[in-house]
């Protein structure tokens, strides 16, 4: 079965084609391609979240990359939530309509299920069950994954996401938004014990996170530090250490609590070197293993939607004709396959 996947839940427009036999055949992200030809010349940069004008040209590009035509597509998957209603509706309307026109089944996919299953696109996929840490600019969640559609949300951020704390602290240090990766780079030259920033919610039981107070604590130190490079690097390193310590400690607590020994880490922050080092140590100590999707599938993309939709379509699930989205959609409401 060959499935077209469409992701338009927030900022990115992502399109991909996944095949049961051949695996991932193509994936396109708006920022990676030039759509000029489709407009007959040079056009100004399309605004972010202008999914309407990006989706169809990207679908054409994905079909071309997969050496496929519409007739080769056996099903269409699109992100149906959670996300921005207006953004979701674009992908849902286009995906549902194409499937109807092509007389093929369609399926609405949960965006976070896409992220959870993304490491299964790799050569060494994790076996079920596993623990997943989703950590990005928009999410910080710990999820126990028993199988496809069998998710238990163990904990999440009650305010800012970890990646958001990185980006906002970077901004407070004068870096362009989103400057999280730059802040992490700056941290390599700093002393992580120079400042003792709070490890939010480590002193309390449970698996929820809170990063908004950490940003405020950093703001106070940054304002006093001035422009000295070493002082700034020390703040960056101490800040990063506080975030990483918190993430790693909660992962350890969740592994302990669930008895799992496989950990999947996805989301933009999973690229952080310090986080990867500490998680490697943790899982080694516990005799477990940590899995990451490849870098381009850590952030929002169409491949994870094509893959997750493929699993559900192959199992016989499909959507009726309604173009329906769920901006708020708890993961626990998903059906198993």
């Amino acid at each position: 079965m060959r499935v077209l996947g469409i992701e338009t839940s927030c900022d990115e427009t992502g399109i991909a084609i996944y095949d049961s036999e051949l695996g991932l055949l193509s994936h396109q992200l708006y920022s990676q391609v030039k759509l000029h030809a489709d407009y007959g010349g040079v056009v100004p940069e399309l605004a972010s979240r202008d999914h309407v004008r990006k989706t169809l040209p990207l679908i054409r590009a994905a079909l071309k990359e997969a050496s496929s035509s519409a007739a080769d597509i056996d099903g269409v998957a699109y992100t149906a939530g959670p996300g921005l209603a207006g953004a979701l509706l674009v992908g849902a309307a286009i995906g549902r309509s194409l499937a109807l026109a092509w007389q093929k089944p369609a399926i609405g996919v949960h965006h976070m299920e896409g992220h959870l299953l993304a490491p299964m696109l790799e050569a060494n996929p994790p076996a079920f069950p596993f623990l997943a840490l989703l950590v990005s600019g928009g999410h910080t969640q710990l999820v126990a994954v028993a199988g496809i559609g069998q998710y238990q949300l163990l904990g999440e951020s009650i305010d800012d996401a970890a990646g958001e704390a990185f980006d906002k602290t970077a901004k407070l240090m004068g870096l362009d938004y989103p400057g999280g990766p730059l802040l992490a780079k700056m941290a390599t030259a700093g002393n992580p014990t120079a400042h003792r920033f709070p490890r939010p919610m480590l002193d309390r039981p449970g698996l929820d996170f809170s990063f908004s107070g950490l940003k405020t604590a950093a703001a106070n130190v940054i304002a006093k530090a001035g422009t000295d490079d070493q002082a700034r690097a020390d703040i960056a390193a101490s800040f990063q250490q506080a975030v990483v310590d918190t993430l790693v400690a909660k992962c350890e607590r969740a592994l302990q609590q669930t008895g799992l020994n496989r950990l999947v880490v996805a989301g933009g922050v999973s690229a952080n070197t310090s986080l990867r080092q500490q998680l490697a140590v943790l899982l080694q100590q516990r005799g477990g293993q940590v899995f990451y999707p490849r870098k381009e599938f850590c952030t929002d993309n169409g491949a994870m939607i094509a893959f997750a939709g493929h699993q559900r379509l192959v199992a016989g699930q499909q959507q009726d004709l309604a173009i329906a989205v769920q901006p708020r959609w708890p993961m626990e409401q998903l059906s198993p396959i």
Binding site: S48, R49, D50, H51, D159, D160
Partner: protein, 170 residues
């Protein structure tokens, strides 16, 4: 606990937010003066307390549970028993026109309270505010000081400010 001084007659006044508890109290008083439809702009630099103030408003109106930052999602909807509230953060908009792509018009025409952080990034595509809540934050001192100034910009806004400033003077 709350130090208030009236800057102008009735359409503007200022409060020192000494700690989070005071912020919650002020937010709660404001929340109970809001009708079903109102537009509030929240201004102030990163870390000034805009989301904390929004959290106080939402909780005072009956929301239980977390108030997540809307920075990534741009808008978080809350359907409460007595009120519909949309909490916006427009920080990540690069062009005000993007509000059209996320369905801004639908939100603003709803019978709802719109709390809008970083409204300056959406100018031209936003409705006129009833109230502007401006937070300032002095971080380079030992005891960081937050100040909230409230400006009424419509008849509704001015009447809310009048009521609140009368309360502060008692």
């Amino acid at each position: 606990m709350v130090e208030a001084n009236r800057v102008q007659a009735v359409n503007r006044f200022q409060i020192s937010l000494l700690d989070e508890a005071v912020t919650q109290q002020v937010a709660a008083r404001l929340a109970h003066l809001l009708p079903e439809q109102a537009v509030l702009f929240l201004q102030g630099p990163l870390g000034a307390g805009k989301t904390t103030l929004s959290r106080g408003l939402l909780q005072a109106l009956g929301h239980q549970g977390a108030v997540k930052s809307p920075t990534y999602t741009l808008v978080e909807p809350y359907h409460l028993a007595t009120r519909q509230i949309y909490h916006f953060d427009l920080y990540r908009l690069t062009d005000p026109e993007e509000l059209e792509f996320i369905g801004g018009r639908d939100y603003f025409s709803d019978q709802a309270i719109c709390l809008i952080e970083w409204p300056e990034r959406g100018l031209g595509f936003l409705p006129e505010p009833d109230l502007v809540l401006a937070l300032s934050y002095q971080a380079d001192v030992d005891e960081p000081l937050r100040t909230l100034s409230i400006h009424g910009q419509s008849e509704l806004g001015r009447s809310i400010v009048t009521t609140m400033s009368a309360h502060e003077e008692r």
